[in-house]
Amino acid sequence: MKLTKHLTGVVIASTCLCAPALAQTRLTMWYHGAGNEVESRILNQIISDFNTSQSDWTVTIESFPEKSYNDSVAAAALAGNLPDILDVDGPVMPNWAWAGYLQPLPIDESEFADFLPGTKGVWDGKLYSVGLWDAAVALFARQSTLDELGLRKPTLDKPWSREEFTAALDAAKASGKYEFALDLGMNDQAEWYSYAFSPFLQSFGGDIVDRSTYKTAEGALNGEAAQAFGKWWQSLFSGGYAPGTSEDPADQQTGFIGGKFAFQWNGNWRAVATMEAVDDVVFLPAPDFGAGNKIGAGSWQFGVSAKSKHPEGAAEFIKFAAQDKYLAAFSDGIGLIPPTPSAAQMTKNYSGGPLAVFFDLSKAQALVRPVTPGYVVQAKVFTKALADIANGADVADTLDAAVDEIDADIESNSGYGHR
């Protein structure tokens, strides 16, 4: 009898103790960072904190290699196997929203009022995704190089003009100290071209697509400004200022550090390693080619899958993850830009630290890539056109062909939903 009482007590107690865990609804989440130890550690910590902070939801994560993540998501969408929470690259978000992979975030946009614009994924007037960091590109240089070549240090308020930038490249080339004046990372023909180089085109006054309608690239990618950009772009390679498309893949990691290049166009994810190797490295703003100085914006963001049966739970997690302490943790861990000024203040590199310049660059110069579902195709067309021009193709013909290809894609997709 006594034993029975004890057993009954144990069963009741364990049932009561387990009750909150049993009541938790499981949310699945997919993430692009498999193999990234630092990101995984921070994200797992956030998930662990979230799961213990409340009794309604429990999040489980499945990480994928970044290079194949989008393909995995597309296949899962076809098979009706999407998770609740999806990680999505900023410029790809409109495509996933349009294709029905994502649903609008059930969170008031005002909750992210102080986030950098590039970290918010808005499509068709609705907020679909929010990023826990942003990335920025800058012109890496040595202060000693600027001094030796007699070059003015450009600032956000007074960036180099086209003439000053050309003069800087000429001076570096004439010095004979460098194999090339400029490293652009030309071997990486994935999305790097549209992210890193379309801001040059935009600074000339052109664009990948006409953003006023998103229904054509005519005029934007082959107009006068784009032609001028194309000729300038080609001159970088024909003039021997930068290595072409067969550039050594290692150059982005070692070329500038090893003194092979005077300047390097690179992202802030390489900034920490470069600072460790180069004492007097300076991160310069993009040159102004006439229509303002621009850099790309928009990195990985979290959204809610259209198939999720628990969007309110997924939204709870995204709000939880968007706390300043986690934004700061990501920034300290991987060097990327925290989305809010308050989070920046909590970081070691952005609260007046050596990378603070990237926050300012992102705030002042950043322009998101074309916000259209067609971007995924347009980026590939743009990449091919720039590679062809770098390899000596006729500028006007190449840009016209790119416009035709982009317009045909927009037409075959009935305008991608742009009204």
Binding site: G35, E62, D71, A75, L78
Partner: protein, 291 residues
Amino acid sequence: MAVNPDNYGLRLFVRYLVLCLIALIFIFPLVFMINSSFKPDSQLLADTSSLRAFLPVGDISLNNYFGAFRRAPVGLFVLNSVLVTGTTVLLSLLICSLAAFSFAFLRWKGRDVLLSIVIATLIIPFETIAIPLLLLVSKLPWIGLDGLHWGWLNTYRVQIVPWIADGLTIFLFVQYFKALPGELIEASRVEGANWWQVYYRVVMPLSGPVLATAAILKFLVMYNQYLWPLIVVQQESYRPVMVGLGYFFQLNVAWGEVMAYLTLITVPVLIFYLLLQRAFIASIASTGVKG
């Protein structure tokens, strides 16, 4: 015509020299991979412009291997690939040889037409059927210990079953079986053997070379699988080695760890080849088929 021994020796020397040079071209990437797997990234990248890239010199350590195991569950990926590949190879040898036996020795209506259709599947790229196949396997039923399930995604069987039978393997067996002496089969039948006994007591014991060829070809196809597991497996616990390679390509690529991972996943391939080396070379001589 008399052979000048001196000229013969010289010709032999030149021939071997040329063959050795060609062999070096094939071996260099492997030597580079293995040597680089022991070097830190800075040295690895600096060495690429010199012959040092092919030599185990400088700061040599196992750090890249430790790093590779920290970054990804390498053992799990290799185990998954070996399991999927091994099972598929064994089932493929059985099913395809049985099918080929039927095509080669049995007389049945529509045999030649069906064989033509099977061979015609060789010209269809897998990419063209990947999506329909994905939709199919995502709806297939399966009865497990915990009852009936719908959908095969995130399993070993989805990586195995669609790859068991293929036109090339059946064709290889058919060609080999047709070259076997017909008297052997007839004699077995006269002695009272049924077709099953002819298959496993007469034909299969004579089929070592084609079994080795088919096994190696299937092994290479399965071990190098990328697209199919990428779209049907979302859980890390079922991922094979080629999808796992993606873990090493971050914004800052750890090249030394990439080389260490590649070296590790090459080991099962080399072991498999060495085990079947003699039979494979014999099969090249007898079937004319190379991997």
